[in-house]
């Protein structure tokens, strides 16, 4: 397995006439946590959604350039979208469990990918909840609705649901912004644990969070009048936060704007 999970080359992205991302070039390391930081509306989430082609759901979205996942361009004609999205799973800002039971939430992915045997499903539900650090809290109420859990538990349920499809990459779009500090702590610990086996790419608004858990940081900014986001600086998180090369990065991380 190569060392880079993603290679992004000359990436441009449009919503209709609006060019949201311009000329992005960078690589995302495998089995590490990479954080996208930048002010609101600078295209961090858009970029994240390019990585599993979730933007394909948006009418009139257009993409140019190449995104390679372990060496294979995800826009090639022979790429199967469901397979791509299984390999590159996504956690959203708002916890969004289905209004089904806890069990059915986690079993959803394996079932749509063809797993039918009850014993296999039981195993994968247990191990996924275990990995998402939720098993102990819910093992006696797997048939309760996922909506009855607290916000933080719901987000861990969503993580378990994503892990159940055995992804190689986990995309997280501000996974902690809608939940309380204690749950945030739990989820950060969990993400840190998961990176041993998975590539994690997360969008965050929270500088401390990026500094605490990520190894690599990309700073995006849409500064001129076009509103198109560019990659201003990309490097080891430590370098970005202690000796940023670009004045704009420094201004942003020291809280001068955004």
């Amino acid at each position: 397995m190569s060392d880079e999970a993603f290679e992004v080359k000359d990436l441009d992205f449009w919503y209709d006439d609006f060019k949201a991302l311009e000329d992005l070039n960078f690589e995302i390391k495998a089995r590490a946590i990479t954080a996208f930081i930048g002010p609101s509306g600078c295209g961090k989430s858009t970029l994240l959604r390019c990585l599993n082609r979730l933007n394909d759901l948006v009418p009139d979205a257009k993409v140019k350039g190449a995104i390679k996942l372990f060496g294979k361009n995800i826009h090639d004609a022979d790429v199967d979208l469901p397979t791509l999205r299984r390999r590159v799973a996504m956690i959203f800002q708002q916890p969004n469990p289905f209004p089904f039971s806890i069990y059915d939430n986690v079993a959803y992915g394996p079932r749509i990918h063809g797993m039918k045997r009850k014993s296999e499903l039981d195993d994968i539900v247990e191990s996924s909840l275990e990995k998402a650090a939720l098993w102990r809290e819910v093992k006696d109420k797997l048939n309760d609705s996922g909506l009855e859990l607290s916000g933080g538990q719901q987000q861990r349920l969503c993580i378990a649901r994503a892990l159940a499809v055995k992804p190689e990459v986990l995309l997280m779009d501000e996974p902690c912004s809608a939940i309380d500090p204690i749950s945030t702590q739990k989820i950060e610990d969990l993400i840190y644990e998961l990176k041993k086996k998975l590539t994690i790419v997360m969008v965050t608004h929270n500088m401390q969070q990026a500094a605490r858990i990520s190894s690599w940081t990309a700073f995006l900014l849409a500064e001129d009048e076009s509103g198109s986001a560019k990659l201003i600086e990309y490097g080891k998180t430590n370098d970005i936060f202690t000796k940023p090369k670009d004045k704009r990065t420094e201004n942003y991380i020291t809280g001068r704007f955004g």
Binding site: L54, S101, L147
Partner: protein, 273 residues
């Protein structure tokens, strides 16, 4: 000055809303008072007989439910299928606008016109029958049922769709496993309200299902619904008492439908399954 104007305005508004409730109560109590003496187990379970149509109206009750259920069975898959297509697959644009406009236009066509159409098309094929009536009613309630299903599907949060796609589900898997199950309580509410219209329909029914007094069993049997029975009793002056009894029973059934629809709708708010 301003204050007094306000008070008068609020008073008028209050009065008009009170009037609505008042007329509803007058209507319901009048029908109840006139109809209640006729209601009895015999009225529900026996056949009409004699020139004054004494006895019961059981064939009419059966014919009414027969037609309603039949049209429900015909219309539900078409309404849900159409709604899924319009909301999930069709690209917003000309075709969708034309289909929506067509559906809205269809729902403003007077029911007697549907009856005439059914008479020309379905009756010439099947004769006066439950199936001719059911098909005609289906056409009539299709726009309402489809609109309600569309609204129910659009009310499913986008985040569920994204979650499903994000896990690698296909469009159809997402529709089948997430969107329809989540929307189902609201879809049912809409369908029941639409089908409730079929239950109370008169004009479209007597032109297609006929007025025969028999108990309909086969789809090709003709039959007389409660509304048609009521219409005939009243216009021919056969028996005003029985007409009111029939009217009361109709109201009871229709109100029950409304309660059922509301109950299902309330359940959906809490989140189904």
């Amino acid at each position: 000055m301003k204050r007094i104007e306000d008070k008068i305005a609020i008073g008028c508004l209050w009065l008009s809303s009170l009037l609505v409730l008042f007329f509803l109560l007058v209507l319901l109590s009048y029908i109840t008072i006139k109809g209640l003496p006729v209601l009895s187990p015999r009225f529900l379970f026996s056949f009409p007989h004699g020139v004054e149509a004494r006895g019961g109206i059981s064939p009419m009750i059966v014919a009414t439910f027969y037609l309603t259920i039949l049209s429900g069975i015909i219309v539900s898959p078409i309404a849900i299928g159409g709604a899924v297509y319009l909301t999930q697959y069709a690209k917003p644009g000309r075709v969708v606008r034309i289909i929506r406009f067509g559906a809205d236009a269809l729902s403003s066509v007077p029911s007697i016109v549907f009856g005439l159409f059914g008479l020309a098309l379905f009756v010439s094929f099947f004769g006066y029958s439950m199936i001719a009536g059911g098909l005609t009613l289906s056409l009539m309630i299709l726009p309402v049922a489809m609109r309600a299903s569309e609204d129910a599907i659009l009310a499913v949060p986008r985040s569920f769709r994204e979650a499903s796609f994000g896990l690698g589900a296909t469009q159809w898997q997402t529709i089948k496993n997430v969107i329809i199950p989540v929307a189902l309580p609201r879809i049912l509410t809409g369908l029941i309200l639409g089908i409730g219209r079929a239950f109370g329909e008169t004009a479209a029914v007597f032109l297609t299902a006929g007025m025969a007094l028999n108990l309909p069993l086969l789809p090709t049997d003709p039959g007389r619904t409660m509304t048609v029975h009521l219409y005939l009793l009243a216009t021919e002056g056969i028996s005003i008492d029985i007409a009111f009894g029939t009217a009361l029973l109709l109201m009871i059934f229709i109100l029950s439908f409304n309660f059922l629809a509301r109950f299902l709708g309330a359940r959906s708010v809490k989140g189904g399954s």
